[in-house]
């Protein structure tokens, strides 16, 4: 358990109670319960179509849902959009990169919840953005066109935009799916460092189970719209659970920080 995780009595960052979501008449989530303590890193894993991204969208307020979702004790439905945007920031799986937009302008979009409607950014907004760019070693990229950056650099810029939002809850949908293994580590180390320095709460979805287990305090295994297992990586990443829900043949070996999942050829 990480030291940053919430103390007993703290309001949890996320509480999901009996959440049901149907998309186009098809039930996608069927009775999800989930609590994420403030400062915790929880990663949602599960096979394709399990409902991971949908869960993240509901927590981020992008999908209405029957059932209760509360952020830091407030029901998400009673939050105004601007207020919600100051609490929770989402980095989508593959964010749209508008042609011609500079890194500075893209990160500045993160200040939207602080800019009055139809107004323009203040000097304070600009200062906040430059501070975030500096912290993420993006100072030299400010005037570069976002579309010209490499995958790893872009992912840092997406994170910068989320940080500029000043939210304490960070939702990351497949933050590393487009990156090579070195950049995956670089981005996740950065997220972990930011989490510790700023007391952020992180809820992510991931496909790479070993990496998911390395960085998360807890894993939630989603299968067919339900929570199939939840707990520490050691509790969730077992050969039996992965065989049952992923239909995968794997060996789970002990690593330095947690279990490592190695796929093996089927007999």
């Amino acid at each position: 358990m990480s030291a940053a995780a919430g103390r007993p009595g703290d309001t949890p960052a996320v509480v999901v109670r009996d959440l049901h979501v149907s998309l186009g008449g098809t039930p996608v989530l069927a009775g999800i319960d989930l609590t994420v303590a403030a400062g915790e890193w929880v990663t949602v894993i599960g096979p394709n179509g399990a409902g991971k991204s949908t869960l993240l969208r509901v927590v981020g307020g992008l999908l209405p849902a029957s059932g209760g979702v509360s952020l830091f004790g407030t029901p998400i439905g009673s939050l105004r959009r601007r207020d919600r945007a100051r609490i929770v920031a989402t980095v989508a799986q593959s964010p749209v990169v508008p042609p011609g937009m500079s890194v500075l302008d893209y990160v500045l979009l993160g200040r939207t919840p602080y800019i009055p409607p139809l107004g323009r950014e203040s000097a304070a907004d600009l200062a906040a953005v430059h501070e975030v760019l500096g912290r993420l070693d993006l100072g030299g990229f400010a005037q570069r066109e976002l579309a010209t950056l490499s995958g790893g650099e872009r992912q840092r810029v997406f994170l910068a935009r989320a940080l500029a939002q000043g939210a304490t809850l960070l939702l990351l949908d497949e933050p590393t799916s487009a990156l090579d293994i070195g950049h995956q580590q670089e981005v996740l180390e950065l997220v972990d460092q930011l989490r510790r320095e700023h007391g952020l709460t992180v809820v992510a979805t991931m496909h790479d189970l070993s990496i998911a287990g390395e960085y998360a305090d807890r894993l939630v295994l989603l299968a067919a719209g339900r929570v199939a297992a939840a707990g520490t990586p050691r509790e969730v990443l077992t050969e039996r659970l992965l065989a049952e829900h992923y239909r995968a043949t794997v060996r789970v070996v002990d690593g330095e920080h947690g279990p490592l999942v190695v796929p093996v050829r089927r007999p």
Partner: protein, 350 residues
Amino acid sequence: MSRPAGLRPRWLVGGVVAVLVALVAGVSLGPVTLPPGSVAAELLNLLPGVHLESGLSEREIAIVTELRLPRVVLGLLVGGLLALAGGCYQGVFRNPLADPYLLGVAAGAGLAVTAVIALGGAGTEGALTGLPLTIPLAAFVGSLGAVALTYLLGAAGGRSRSPAMLILAGVAVSAFLSAGQTYLLQRNADSIQAVYSWLLGRLATAGWHDVLLVLPYAVLTTVVVLLHGRELDVLSVGDDEASSLGLHPQRSRYLLIAAASLGTAAAVSATGLIGFVGIIVPHTVRLLAGSSYRVILPLSLLFGAAFLALTDVVARTAAAPAEIPIGVVTALLGGPFFVLVLRTARRVLT
């Protein structure tokens, strides 16, 4: 410290200068060519508290203020509106091909005007002069009716409604209304010429009453759209991102479509269908001055105004004493010009 994208002063000055040049050129040139300096002096005299000696005769002053100025001003208004609406639609739909006619505006106006001319019993040349108010009114009602129909169809997708749904609805509505117009024309072949002379765009008969008809809508559209430049920049990253940043993308989209459509309908009702301005002006601005809507929108307004007013000069001088329909000139001049911009900008960018 680096600066965010914004309207650079030199571009703003450039746009204002372009409008002033178009204004003076538009008023000076014609069957009777007047010296630009005198025209500029006479135009300044219209401002309160200015009394300059222009050296123009009474008759020439009348040509300036009663004949040419309303036409040039209407050209400026319509050009600015069409270009602004085009830039706005491109942002709202995140589609570079969006233009003011996308949502059925042209087809609706076309059908309504055809119906008035063909069925109004005035199926001859006299129609346009005989029905001075009915035709703009029909065009206005027709455009807005078509846009409303497009909204309804586009929203029928329920929760899956998206920019693409609305565009598809616009295509369907346009096809349907155009078919209706073709049918009417075929049944009333004697009114074809009157209908087409309106459809191809006309500034020739413009008077101050046309300007006053368009002005309120132009002001409303301009204010609403220009205020949303930043929001359009946020919308460019997608609806999900925009709403997770605290905006209501669908609400902004409908407001902006309504504002741009109202402006387009007003422009169409005054001057007929003038194509191309709504696409080439915003794209030229985007390629040359920057891709933020805080740059594109105000500059499209200014350069669109100047472009149409100057095009009108060509339309009435190139084949004098005859006039070429302005819609023909915008496409003939605009097409090659845009290809030129596209090629040079690409060379600069890559």
